[in-house]
Point group: D2
Chain length 340, copies 4
């Protein structure tokens, strides 16, 4: 085995996904953190993330693409959308590969601009690969820019895509999704105040969340069919994890959904098919996507769960990086849950 | 005003809904608790429910229908299904009115026997009234046996029934419901262990929960149409409250769902129509059902929340009792939330 | 019974204690809310507190002492310290009685200025009465300015004061206190972010919290002895409630602490003495202070729990107002817990 | 490096500490799980612990000492006290080393029998070593029976022992401890029901918990002085973690407690000294014990936190096993927190 280290940078180390990237890469056998950046710099990692005291004491720098290019072969961008594309274009220009955890390179131009903002890096957008390994593995292998999927789309697509040919596209697909509060980010807002969300649950942006077009677009690209995706996310009183419940009609009766899923994913390490409803905590701390399916007549119910900041973000990003450097896909990727 | 007290009994005082009945009736201006029973007896209320220390020190007796009939005009039955119908038939025979919080008198015979067990009190079943006051007020007034609705059906029906004439019954209605752990009862089971459900969520009995036929039957009875109800409940890591999200197709575009709801419920005290998604905590501690609706083309999204052990059980039971005795419907019924 | 209404104002209606005051006074049989103020005004109550939709739709005004004096006989001030004393002095000058929920009139001048800021209303400070009804009932009766106690001091003093003559003041008293997040206020800060405090607990301001001198001063005033109070508060992952555990030495062995407490509080409605450790949830939603005590040799362990925003703030404020107007102390004061 | 695997058994694989042992040993570079036992057997690991689906599919056997001795060099016993000593004596007789996670070998005979039950393996009890590595490292090295410390004693002793010579033993030490619900075990009881402990906290067994004599005995053995330990544990509404707050008097003023701790533990990998109060979540998922100390005059406040089922049980057990086999102490021992 060739143990030569590959130097990587983490840009945007202050947030939850930045922290998860740090935690994953500290123990990664090949990737080596050589640069940690955020928007301010001049702080040590353990000041940003006290739980890393005694584990990592590197300095966090004010992110600078030129400095990064001097030391790193790949950069993980854990930045807000819009900020990300500025950095990405500069880094790519300087020869640094990029895994972008923001939305900036996930969508086709029109969809992006309709739901986010004007795109300022259309050239790279054209070459970006959507980083859902089970479906884009080969493209990722040869890419220097991978757009890491949104958290909800990850769970939604992994459960929906195997059924594309069987779903009746004349009927809407209704997705009722639930996310832990880490999905709302580290910013202190009335919504993330403990007293607001503890012992509570509420829907937000019903039928108008930005992940709706992401799910629809990828289903269209994979199947060459248009699906009517209707997405209602909820905030849950818990930290980590995401559940995506999808309801739809199949063209025909008699589909054996569990067997179909088991067959479809039989060679995938990071998808588990369950015979009873999944829970949000079993994949917590891991890169697994857990899926349960049930059919009644023509009706299909899909029930998927992931760790929103791992499979829905940082660990999937590291899987993508593994693939980009022809490493084993599961190198340094956690499979052991935080349960209990 | 005639302040003459009406003596009532609470049978099944040990569980959560029994406790809520006690709390409601302690402060009720007309109903007076004269008998508190459970299956064991020989205990004081404050031993069963230490939070009532200094508030209520009556004795709890081993429930006995004949003794109840000597002292009470009405009995609330907070018993498991099957046990309830035994008591109810005896009490009715003895001239005691009954509000039954179990499932025993909620359904037509065939449906009941398909989902629960053999029915042993068919005679009374025929005369029982379904205690959803907004829809069965007049029947409740003259009834001596009211079947208090299930918690999920209460929220589901209050949001769905106003749309019966507009919904396209050729397509399924998908209901994604979420309940706090008090809905699973006081019994200690692996599901209700703190470590199992804290930081977690999972679906249970998907597409086969007993509340599915209850919702379907009442919609049929109100509308004379068959709807295909598909119900998936989830357990949430919180104590109190229930959210019911429903997804369906309307026959036509252009329905102004919020206005329709406001008009429909304009004279109802205990239904609130919101212009943004509801949360589970705002109706907590009250008898309110909070509803939000959104239409996109022909698609209708309904989002309702109640306190599962009040509006979904005990406070709705007291409203029914108020109606049965021609009292003001809101007598002793809480409207002030536990928030924060 | 004379049912003549007494008009009152709530100043500072936006926060948690303001909300609790609103909830208590909506149903109070004598006090009538005639003025609701906050620092901004021009908003309806149900916009500030959506859970009150359909219950209270009064307007909230930009607080103005002169306007308040025109309509109200008493004002509850739920304001930050320093802001409170400005309002209080103006209102008292205009003949309005005041129950101040802030710290501004709780302490002797020197202590106040050492722990808070310069005091600008020394005259009224001299006449203010400390609103712990069990110990200052007579003084409250004749006062026009009551300083409502801090939440921790309420639970600490109610458990400690009965033992003043028995405690060995040559040794320190150690108080390990725990509070729900509502005690940290509605402001969105890193500490109150759900992700920070959920599944967590931490001490804050150990041995230097402002409630330490308040406890020490009141013990000195009641006992004419100096006690060495050492106070370490913790933040708990829950919304409502506070537990105060105190550890100390008695002068002698053989003290029967439970009996002493029961005797001491035998005529008090709002103190409950338990024979086993108390929990934080039983008094939740009420004005009770629950206390358990245990002696081992000369060592005394006291364990007290209250609802921090009711007994620790708003319901105690209403008790004080009841006393100031010679009403029954328990008028409109909740005793029925939110359990489950 | 010699990578020869060492075969180990886990007995008592059903509970939380059994699960943690499995999770730790799956990824341990030297120890290899060759035997997994519980009291029933005939089940696969992923049935007992569904979160391990796809990770470990070994069979769980009905524990049998003779079978274990055929395949394993060491057994971890995650059994109830009393059951443990039966197994341990048999295994030791058969030449298998034992790390016992129960209380059976932690205490001197008299103390054990006073607080637990009759001891049936006095011979091995005499030779058992207390597995707190920072203090008993050398004894552990040469032992074949290590008694893994209790969770509370681990955090209490690590914070208290450095101060033994400075503490005034004429004054009691008061320990106010707080534990997550995993500490109460997997058994479904009224205390562990979600509705009982969510939004709640309560003390249990105040001044009479079995961990009190364990702390006292080890302090005496280390210091040759008698300390008066007074221990009050509380149950917290969270899953994982434990905080131990200790209050005491020092003989003299002027002690620089933080510096003393930093010096004392400067060569220890698994103890972190903080300059501000610790939280329960930062060491969660790791073997760290986090400590903060503050002195006021002669008063000392100690504030320690650990993961109760890792440092307080399973990861400390693996550290002990590492030492028993002369491996690096940190081999396979987690240091990266579950935060957020």
């Amino acid at each position: 085995m060739n143990n030569k280290k590959i130097p990587v940078a983490i840009i945007g180390a202050s947030g939850y996904t930045g922290l998860e990237l740090l935690k994953l890469l500290i123990t990664h056998p090949i990737f080596e953190i050589v640069y940690i950046g955020n928007s301010e710099g001049e702080v040590r990692v353990e000041e940003l993330h006290p739980s890393l005291k005694g584990v990592l004491s590197q300095s966090v720098l004010k992110s600078n693409a030129k400095e990064i290019a001097k030391v790193a072969d790949l950069a993980f961008l854990a930045l807000p959308h819009k900020t990300a594309m500025g950095f990405a274009s500069e880094l790519l220009e300087l020869g640094v590969k990029v895994v972008d955890l923001s939305a900036d390179y996930r969508l086709e131009l029109d969809t992006y601009e309709a739901y986010y903002c004007k795109h300022t890096d259309k050239e790279n957008l054209q070459n970006a690969v959507y980083g859902l390994p089970e479906f884009y593995r080969n493209e990722i292998k040869n890419s220097s820019l991978v757009a890491n999927p949104g958290c909800y789309p990850t769970a939604a697509l992994l459960s929906l895509l195997p059924f594309c040919d069987l779903i009746d596209e004349n009927f809407p697909i209704f997705i009722d999704a639930k996310s832990g509060v880490s999905g709302a980010g580290k910013k202190c807002t009335p919504k993330t105040h403990f007293v607001s969300i503890d012992e509570n649950i509420f829907a937000y942006n019903p039928l108008m969340h930005r992940h709706q077009p992401e799910i629809a677009e990828k289903m269209r690209l994979q199947s060459k069919k248009e699906f009517d995706i209707n997405f209602v996310p909820h905030l849950l009183p818990l930290i980590r994890g995401e559940m995506v419940d999808s309801y739809m009609l199949l063209k025909d009766e008699g589909v054996d959904a569990p067997s179909l899923l088991k067959e479809f994913y039989k060679n995938e390490r990071f998808v588990r098919i369950y015979d009873k409803p999944v829970d949000i905590k079993s994949p917590s701390g891991t890169n697994f996507c857990d899926i349960f399916a049930k059919v009644e007549g023509k009706k299909l119910y899909l029930n998927a769960a992931i760790d929103n900041i791992l499979r829905g973000s940082s660990s999937q990003a590291v899987v993508n990086a593994n693939i980009m450097f022809q490493l084993e896909e599961n190198l340094g990727i956690p499979t052991i849950s935080y349960v209990p």
